[in-house]
């Protein structure tokens, strides 16, 4: 058991996974690289020393000195990296704990509101129903946010359960368009869908891909100001299916475009009139598509509209 623990301590990839970071951001890996650099530098210092300095003790001092300076630098750098990585890990843990802990009281709240609204405890006046509806809508919104936070926390800790199946992307899109029709109509938005015939199926996690398209549809409809058009198309491109959703909404300001897939990021122009939203949808979408072996991207112009796309491999 002891030996196992020691082996785990020196197993760099395992240690790095704990932080949920890539290898090049991981303190343990950087320490290893620093060690290699120190060894190489010492050898070079030795080679230079023996060539230009004639007395052996002086060469030794010279090599020792350089090694000591490099070692101190390495310790300082990796220490600060370790602190950063630890902060990152704690942030992920915080999201996970908070979202788990919020869910139970929120479930209680939602069911209590439902009980009150059902009339089982006595008749409710029409005016009261109106306010109960507000409570219900807001608790649902909170539940959606917590759901997103939980997904983010699972993505970061690499614990997002994935179950790949074969399914038709086209059918999924058609189902979702139907689901979004009331929202689209209420927002004066027309949704058009065109796809090539005889498209092959894709092999991915159904509920995750569903979430991605839901996010895109929701964004496209919400970010159209008065009335507009959302166009969706699916095509086969090489060994992938290509999905594209184009809107004539507010668009993304150029300076905000590089941050658009970042967690919690919301564009400046959107915050002006659309305060709802967590800034997690696109972060989740990117993680899901990339984990499914696809690519994701967009092009956008402020005031003209945005086009988001992703590809997914055919089985």
């Amino acid at each position: 058991m002891k030996l196992k623990e020691i082996l785990r301590e020196v197993n760099v990839p395992v240690q790095c996974r704990k932080y949920g970071l890539s290898l090049w951001q991981c303190p343990q890996f950087l320490f290893l690289i620093m060690g290699l650099i120190i060894i190489v530098s010492s050898l070079i210092a030795y080679a230079i020393g023996t060539r230009y300095i004639e007395e052996p003790p002086l060469v030794a001092v010279w090599v020792l000195l350089i090694s000591a300076v490099l070692f101190t630098m390495a310790v300082i750098i990796t220490n600060s990296f370790e602190r950063l990585a630890e902060a990152n890990r704690m942030k992920s843990e915080f999201i996970s704990i908070v979202s788990h802990q919020l869910r139970s009281p929120l479930s209680n709240l939602r069911w209590t509101i439902e009980l009150l609204m059902s009339g089982r405890l006595g008749r409710i006046e029409e005016k009261q129903t109106e306010y109960f509806k507000i409570l219900k809508e807001n608790s649902n919104r909170m539940m959606e946010l917590i759901k997103d936070l939980l997904i983010v926390s699972r993505i970061e800790t690499a614990k997002l359960p994935t179950k790949k199946i074969e399914f038709s992307l086209e059918d999924l899109v058609e189902d979702l368009i139907k689901e979004f029709t009331p929202l689209a109509q209420a927002s004066n938005v027309k949704v058009k869908f065109g796809s090539q015939s005889d498209l092959p199926k894709i092999f991915a996690d159904y509920s995750q891909i569903r979430l991605v398209i839901e996010n895109f549809l929701d964004n496209a409809i919400h970010y159209i100001k008065e009335s507009g058009l959302v166009e969706i198309k699916i095509e086969k491109r090489n060994q992938n299916l290509y999905f594209e959703i184009k809107d004539d909404g507010v668009g993304i300001p150029r300076e905000d475009q590089r941050y658009i897939f970042q967690k919690f990021f919301r564009a400046e122009n959107i915050l002006k009139y659309q305060t709802q939203g967590s800034g997690l949808g696109l972060y989740i979408s990117k993680a899901v598509v990339e984990r499914s072996g696809g690519k994701i991207g967009f092009s956008s112009q402020e005031g003209v509209g945005s086009t988001f796309w992703f590809t997914l491999p055919i089985k």
Binding site: S104, S107, N108, W111, L115, S118, M143, P161
Partner: protein
């Protein structure tokens, strides 16, 4: 009258379900922790058990195991009602013999009541 044992440490839920199930014509017995839940199941032999998983004294999985290992309680259908939604937890509960697994956040109160009614009809 059919009896339902609700093992759940949230008293708010005990109250909410108590009210609804009474209106639906069932008798509900409450247990606020795992140990007393298991004891009550043995003493009262309810027709159905609603079981939360994160419980004081004894974890829901332990309760479920205890219920299914006992000859007198192993036939009682158990609906797990929890906020744990990891696939491992769902699989484990079903393997241990739970009839249905419901994630609280995914169902409305009325939907849960429907599931209870259905389980009691069987």
């Amino acid at each position: 009258m059919k009896t339902i044992l609700f093992i759940e440490d949230e008293s708010v839920l005990q109250k909410t379900f108590g009210e609804v199930l009474k209106q639906e014509g069932y008798e509900m017995i409450s247990a606020l922790d795992g140990k007393s839940g298991l004891r009550l199941a043995k003493n009262k032999r309810p027709d159905l058990i609603l079981l939360d998983l994160i419980l004081p004294e004894m974890h829901g999985f332990e309760v479920l195991k205890g219920l299914k290992e006992d000859k007198e309680t192993k036939e009682i259908p158990v609906i797990v009602l929890t906020n744990l939604e990891r696939i491992e937890d769902i699989d484990r509960a079903l393997e241990l013999g739970a009839t249905t697994y419901l994630v609280k956040a995914q169902y409305s109160l009325e939907e849960v009541v429907e599931k209870i009614k259905k389980a009691l009809e069987k």
